[in-house]
């Protein structure tokens, strides 16, 4: 069976189907994170006392991870641009860098943030601040893991599609890049909300 509109634009939407699909998915993700951000605002505004993020969390580590994710957004766009210029070798290099940066983010998050906090008994049950911190950043970290799995597949076995259907493969990279950007932009909002305010 031939799946329609994987490459060509669907006349009624003006997009190929995967792009419409990823935007519908990202819209549902906005609602998920939006709900949690609302919970954070309500918990904070309703609390008689609240921690100052910069005193409880490590601002240098948060800043480093922000830099890592911004850089990974640049590399994922470069991987897409390399494919547009028919350079699979460069695509592999940039996508590999994106995966590496995602892994750096996760390792720093777990080793230098989660583990010391758990050791100091700063766990979700100790205060609402840590409850919302772990929920928001944990859910975000799960999204990074999801992105790494998809990007890893597209870097490795999935890249064989470049030989059989390069246009569809290029579209897949664009869709994966859109998801990765969404994950990164969530962090751009999480960082000041949790670490600075």
């Amino acid at each position: 069976m031939q799946i329609p509109y994987t490459v060509t634009v669907r006349p009624d939407t003006g997009l190929y189907n995967a792009k419409l699909g990823i935007w519908l998915f990202l819209a549902s993700e906005v609602m998920l994170f939006g709900g949690l951000f609302s919970a954070y605002i309500l918990l904070r505004s309703g609390a008689t006392s609240w921690f100052v993020g910069s005193e409880e969390l490590s601002v240098p580590i948060g800043t480093f991870n922000t830099f890592v994710l911004i850089l990974s957004s640049v590399t994922v766009v470069m991987s897409w641009a390399s494919l547009r210029m028919n350079d699979l070798k460069k695509y592999k290099m940039y996508m590999g860098l994106t995966i590496l940066l995602g892994l750096v983010f996760l390792v720093v998050k777990v080793l230098f943030e989660y583990m010391p906090k758990i050791e100091h008994h700063h766990i979700p049950s100790s205060h609402n601040f840590f409850a919302i911190y772990f929920v928001l950043t944990g859910l975000h970290a799960l999204h990074v893991v999801g992105g790494l799995i998809v990007n890893g597949y597209l870097w490795g076995p999935g890249s064989k599609m470049w030989d059989t259907d390069p246009e569809q493969f290029l579209n897949r990279i664009e869709v994966a890049g859109l998801y990765w950007h969404f994950v990164d932009i969530i962090w751009i909002f999480l960082f000041p909300a949790l670490y600075l305010l």
Binding site: S73, V77, I188
Partner: protein, 64 residues
């Protein structure tokens, strides 16, 4: 919205965040993060330069 358009939106938000973080470090009472603040201002300028270069390089790519 294409990856090009989303990337430009992301760079814009990141630039605002970089300058905002820089301003936050200046307003901090203890001044612990002033070095990070200056680095953040430089990063903000770097992101603007990068965004303009990206826009020029991908002029022919659709925003949709």
């Amino acid at each position: 919205m294409s990856l090009k358009a989303f990337h430009l939106a992301f760079i814009s938000v990141s630039t605002i965040m970089a300058f905002g973080f820089g301003a936050w470090t200046l307003m901090e009472d203890n001044g612990n993060y002033i070095l990070y603040g200056f680095l953040s201002f430089f990063a903000g300028v770097g992101l603007i330069v990068y965004g303009i270069r990206f826009l020029k390089k991908f002029r022919e790519v659709s925003y949709l």
